[in-house]
């Protein structure tokens, strides 16, 4: 069976060694069981920032809070502890997995490599200090913190870009002239997704097909949220197609092209035919003012479908992907709570933003 899978994967699959699903998946499931339960969030809402810091310092974030407590305090301590924990967790996933599963996780987590490259370039563009850039890094991908902080120290962007010579990012980065940052950022994002598609489409194994389906449904949700924002703001500019990610599962680029000139009302009628509609049908109407509910629902749907998908295919890449997005969501939720409390937002506003 394994030989058959190896044959199907082909020579340029990129994965090396024996795939250890039997070890990785129970470990990841045990890690998932340690994440905060949804009953915890109402309790957190009733706590002050210091109490929240103590609470997360006694949970899975203990090492990070202990380590950073000497340098930071208050909201910054929570924020940096969350970032540190996120990158440590994702690096751990790469460390405990082998073969095909390790390769797919690494490809997925390149999102953080792209994020960090953008952070460093943006930091230099805004003339942020080295310390500020270093604080914003989340080394969850294959680029290490040491390498990235080395980049943050460099004086100008040419030196940073030359460090990427020979990597897949270099052809894009070398076009950066100090002014076209947003264009470079878009291209990096597109490179990330095209890389994922290349990986998912390069062989016909079950894992890769599931991986592709997972990625493509994520793209649908991203594109939908983007379209909602565009349509709500009344933007019909066809140039916005540049920002659309190709390869959605249900909503194809051609469909989006047709939706682009529509008004918000027509757009709503158009999306009724997709399966995502049933998740948002009760809150979407032409007069809606805020899109927070829609975005929260779509994110919730993504989490829910990943969780149920992971029960359908228990020995596959899906439970790991499910863990990754659930962990990202937990960190986002905690960040929303502490940042909301620090900004003196009322509890209702904070609750609206949470994806639980």
């Amino acid at each position: 069976m394994r030989l058959l899978q190896k044959f199907k994967r082909g020579k340029d699959s990129g994965s090396k060694g024996h795939t250890n699903y039997a070890y990785t998946i129970p470990r990841v499931r045990a890690m998932k069981s340690k994440l905060l339960k949804k009953e915890i969030y109402p309790r957190l809402m009733n706590m002050s920032i210091d109490e929240i810091t103590r609470f997360i310092g006694e949970s899975g974030y203990k090492d990070d809070v202990d380590e950073l407590a000497l340098t930071y305090d208050g909201v910054d301590l929570v924020e940096h502890s969350l970032n540190r924990n996120l990158s440590a967790t994702f690096r751990k996933l790469l460390y405990i997995s082998e073969g095909e599963v390790n390769f797919l996780i690494a490809e997925y987590l390149k999102e953080y490599d792209v994020w960090n490259i953008k952070t460093v370039l943006r930091g230099k563009y805004c003339k942020a200090s080295t310390k500020e850039i270093k604080e914003s890094l989340v080394a969850g991908g294959s680029l290490t913190y040491t390498f990235l902080s080395g980049l943050a120290v460099k004086e100008d962007y040419e030196d940073i870009i030359s460090e990427f010579e020979g990597t897949e990012y270099y052809p894009i980065l070398k076009r950066y002239d100090g002014t076209n940052l947003s264009d470079i950022e878009n291209q990096l994002d597109k490179l990330y997704y095209s890389g994922l598609f290349h990986v998912a489409g390069s062989s016909k194994t079950k894992e890769r097909k599931l991986f592709a389906k997972f990625i493509r449904s994520g793209i649908d949700i991203k594109n939908m949220m983007f379209l909602f924002r565009l349509k709500r703001s009344g933007i019909n500019d066809p140039a916005m197609m540049e920002l659309i990610i190709d390869g959605g599962l249900e909503i194809e680029v051609e469909d989006i092209k047709k939706m682009m000139p529509l008004s918000f009302e027509e757009f709503i009628r158009e999306i009724e035919k997709y399966s995502y509609w049933k998740e948002i049908s009760d809150i979407v109407h032409p007069d809606m003012r805020s899109l927070i509910d829609v975005e929260t629902r779509l994110k919730k749907y993504r989490l829910k479908s990943a969780a149920s998908f992971s029960h359908v295919y228990p020995i596959s890449i899906v439970p790991i992907m499910d863990y990754i997005i659930t962990k990202q969501n937990e960190v986002n939720n905690l960040r929303i709570i502490v940042r909301g409390k620090a900004a003196n937002l009322d509890d209702e506003t904070i609750k609206e933003q949470l994806v639980v």
């Binding site: 039997a22 070890y23 470990r27 045990a30 340690k34 405990i96």
Partner: protein, 76 residues
């Protein structure tokens, strides 16, 4: 010469059958235990409290080889 003796002697055939019964079931249990033990170790690495449960699940495929052993003993 040895093969001929085994094939012509009913006791030899029985011994061969018993050997196959124990041998194949031994391999099957080992294969199943390998996968389960790997999973149990993965889970235990995160939560030591799962040691007891993990151990029980790991030894469950041992029943396969016990069946093989019982069949072999009945044959002999």
């Amino acid at each position: 010469m040895v093969t001929e003796t085994v094939m012509s002697n009913p006791d030899g055939m029985k011994a061969l059958g018993a050997a196959i019964a124990v041998g194949l079931t031994g391999f099957s249990s080992a294969y199943a235990e390998r996968e389960i033990a790997t999973a149990a170790i993965g889970a235990m690495a995160e939560n030591e409290g799962l040691f007891g449960k993990g151990l029980i699940f790991v030894v469950i495929p041992e029943t396969i080889v016990i069946f093989g052993l019982v069949v072999a003993l009945m044959m002999l």
